[in-house]
């Protein structure tokens, strides 16, 4: 089955196309919308909004914290030397290293989550049109239910340029 999409020049027309597809029974998982920039003022931009990025970042930070605590404690106890009359495991200086590794863990896990959940780094995707980065708004269905179904719905919206790939 070929993927079907339409390009629109305005957010209003794209929103109308998305609404029509929903009315025809297509769910959020089926509908793909691509824009050259975030268009928060339109409802279609909320598709795929839900994510666990904040939780994963916190998890990454926690991992960094554990690693930092282990690294400093392990290094200091593996060859114990008294320096500057400080304890073998001095918490004040260690907190600095632990803090940096905590933040590094949060940052790295955020980037890793972005790459995985946004599907970055994958091979050329099926549904795409270079006009998107020039400002056109793409509304499409990756796997339409029946031939002609999606073309008809999208074609009914004024200003639509319907294409299949």
């Amino acid at each position: 089955m070929k993927s079907v999409y339409a390009l629109f020049d305005t957010g209003e027309a794209a929103q109308r196309a998305v609404n029509s597809l929903r009315s025809a029974g297509y769910g959020e998982r089926d509908i793909t919308v691509m824009t050259a920039a975030p268009m928060e003022e339109f409802e279609f931009s909320h598709i795929g909004r839900h994510s666990y990025q904040w939780y994963i970042a916190c998890g990454g930070g926690l991992l960094g914290l554990v690693l930092g605590t282990w690294l400093t404690t392990y290094a200091e106890t593996s060859w114990p030397i008294v320096v500057g009359n400080m304890p073998i495991v001095p918490w004040y200086p260690n907190i600095i290293v632990i803090f940096e590794l905590t933040m590094l863990g949060a940052v790295l896990s955020t980037v890793a989550t972005l790459i995985v959940t946004a599907g970055l780094g994958r091979r050329t995707p099926a549904l795409y049109d270079p006009e998107v980065t020039s400002g056109a708004i793409l509304v499409g269905i990756g796997t339409p239910r029946a031939d002609g179904d999606v073309e008809q719905i999208l074609g009914a919206v004024p200003g639509a340029r319907v294409k299949t790939v």
Binding site: N19, S23, W54, A118, E131, G135
Partner: protein, 451 residues
């Protein structure tokens, strides 16, 4: 059919084939950088005897440059992160210019501990891993804290710069052919601009902004610990952390204003880097100038009031002694001139902001020098007093770092849009579109037919 709107055309124009002027500028800067590289190589070959470092002053221009460039790096990521978090609309043309400064200033600043090592090929001794006798580096040392702080900040800043570049790389990919398309296509990581990708990217940027602000503050605090943890007159002060951070942000904003003014003029970005951006940054610079004055007064009053003999020797050397011309120049260009220029609205123009900023960059470099050298030259016992004067290799390396910054910035602006195109578009959408309920047909209103 690929169309280009005016915004895209203007912001992608600098990426076109370079002209003779650009080549000339790059050539001259490259020669200066190469000369600095030669000076460094010569210093490695001949040894540190070529520098002005003599007992008891073993930290001179090289460490001054280290602290200065780490300070300049606070312009970008920190300001960009704060402006992103508060969702300041005027940030859009500014953020990338700022983030680039951070990345390059950190690279240059991070190079100085290696230059200062004398034998940079042994740099891995700084990396925290056990040696052959399973002895680890000393985690109680501020120099090891530096390693963690700078590497965390550099990694975070590079990612903070790279992530919002991805959509712009995709734009260039779609408008290019051949090798250029392949390179930008690789950098774009298969970006398509789906709503899901935009959400993930924006959330990631928010998380990074939240994480990077405390990291930025910690980095310069830790650099200040290199001094304040030592029982050296005028160093062992609890105010050094915030004093260094304020100074870093101060010099960073000044660096950003200079870079923005240069980009505006050279790349013809007058339409996007508007006087209002300089006016806002000028206000921020004025605030930081007052804060710097406050910290400097605090720091000096505490030393003077304490009247400790060793501290007063250093104090006198800077206030009325041989270092006083540098000290009073610093006060004039960091406080007097900026406060006069920036507090009078009529003078808070682009030219006014640039004049104040150039003075501040010079003044902040002097501040770093005056923190380091007079204290080392006036320790507790007079037998350990000494002076320092820089030698040609140190001056050449210092000049080369400024040229390196300009060179890296020039090259970056040639290959990457220096103003984020997608963020400018997003800003334009928010301003223009914001449809009224009446102006949108019923079935196009926000998801109404769906609900």
């Amino acid at each position: 059919m690929i169309r280009q709107d005016r915004l895209t055309r203007t912001l992608l124009k600098p990426l076109e084939r370079p002209g003779v002027g650009w080549m000339l500028v790059v050539g001259v800067l490259a020669v200066v950088v190469a000369f600095g590289g030669f000076a460094w190589s010569f210093m490695m070959w001949e040894g540190f005897g070529l520098t002005g470092k003599r007992w008891p002053v073993f930290w001179g221009f090289l460490i001054t440059n280290f602290v200065f460039w780490i300070g300049i790096s606070h312009a970008g990521t920190l300001i960009s992160a704060i402006l992103r978090l508060v969702n300041a609309g005027w940030r859009r043309p500014v953020t990338r210019c700022a983030e680039v400064i951070t990345a390059f200033a950190l690279m240059i600043g991070g190079l100085f501990p290696l230059i200062h090592l004398g034998k940079p090929w042994l740099f891995f001794w700084l990396v925290p891993y056990p040696n052959r006798r399973l002895l680890w580096p000393n985690f109680r040392s501020p120099l090891v804290w530096d390693f963690f702080a700078i590497s965390t900040y550099l990694t975070s800043s590079l990612l903070f710069l790279f992530l919002p570049l991805i959509p712009d790389f995709a734009l260039i990919r779609d408008q290019s052919t051949g090798l250029r398309k392949t390179i930008y296509g690789t950098l774009a990581l298969g970006w398509r601009g789906t709503t899901q990708q935009w959400h993930r990217l924006e959330t990631a940027m928010q998380i990074m902004a939240v994480a990077i602000i405390p990291v930025a503050v910690s980095v310069h605090t830790i650099v200040s610990f290199d001094f304040s943890m030592a029982p050296v007159p005028m160093w062992h002060s609890s105010i050094f952390g915030p004093y260094f951070v304020a100074g870093a942000i101060f010099s960073g904003i000044a660096g950003l204003i200079i870079a923005m003014a240069a980009l505006r003029r050279v790349l013809g970005l007058q339409e996007y880097l508007e006087p209002i951006h300089f006016e806002n940054l000028g206000k921020l610079l004025l605030t930081m100038s007052l804060l710097w004055g406050y910290f400097t007064f605090n720091e000096r009053l505490t030393a003077w009031y304490g009247n400790d003999v060793a501290e007063m020797n250093t104090f006198a050397a800077t206030q009325t002694g041989s270092y006083s011309p540098l000290f009073w120049t610093m006060v004039t260009v960091n406080f007097v001139i900026p406060v006069i220029i920036l507090s009078i609205r009529r003078f808070r123009t682009i030219t006014g902001c640039v004049i104040a900023s150039v003075g501040i960059v010079v003044g902040m470099w002097l501040e770093r020098f005056l923190i380091i050298v007079p204290s080392l030259g006036h320790k507790f016992l007079p037998y350990s007093w000494g002076t320092y004067s820089p030698r040609p290799v140190e001056i050449a390396i210092t000049v080369a770092t400024f040229a390196a910054m300009a060179l890296l910035y020039t090259l970056f602006a040639k290959f990457v849009p220096i103003i984020s195109i997608w963020e400018m578009r997003a800003g334009a959408h928010t301003q223009e579109s914001a449809p009224t309920r009446e102006s949108v047909p019923v079935d196009a209103r926000l998801g109404e037919s769906h609900s």
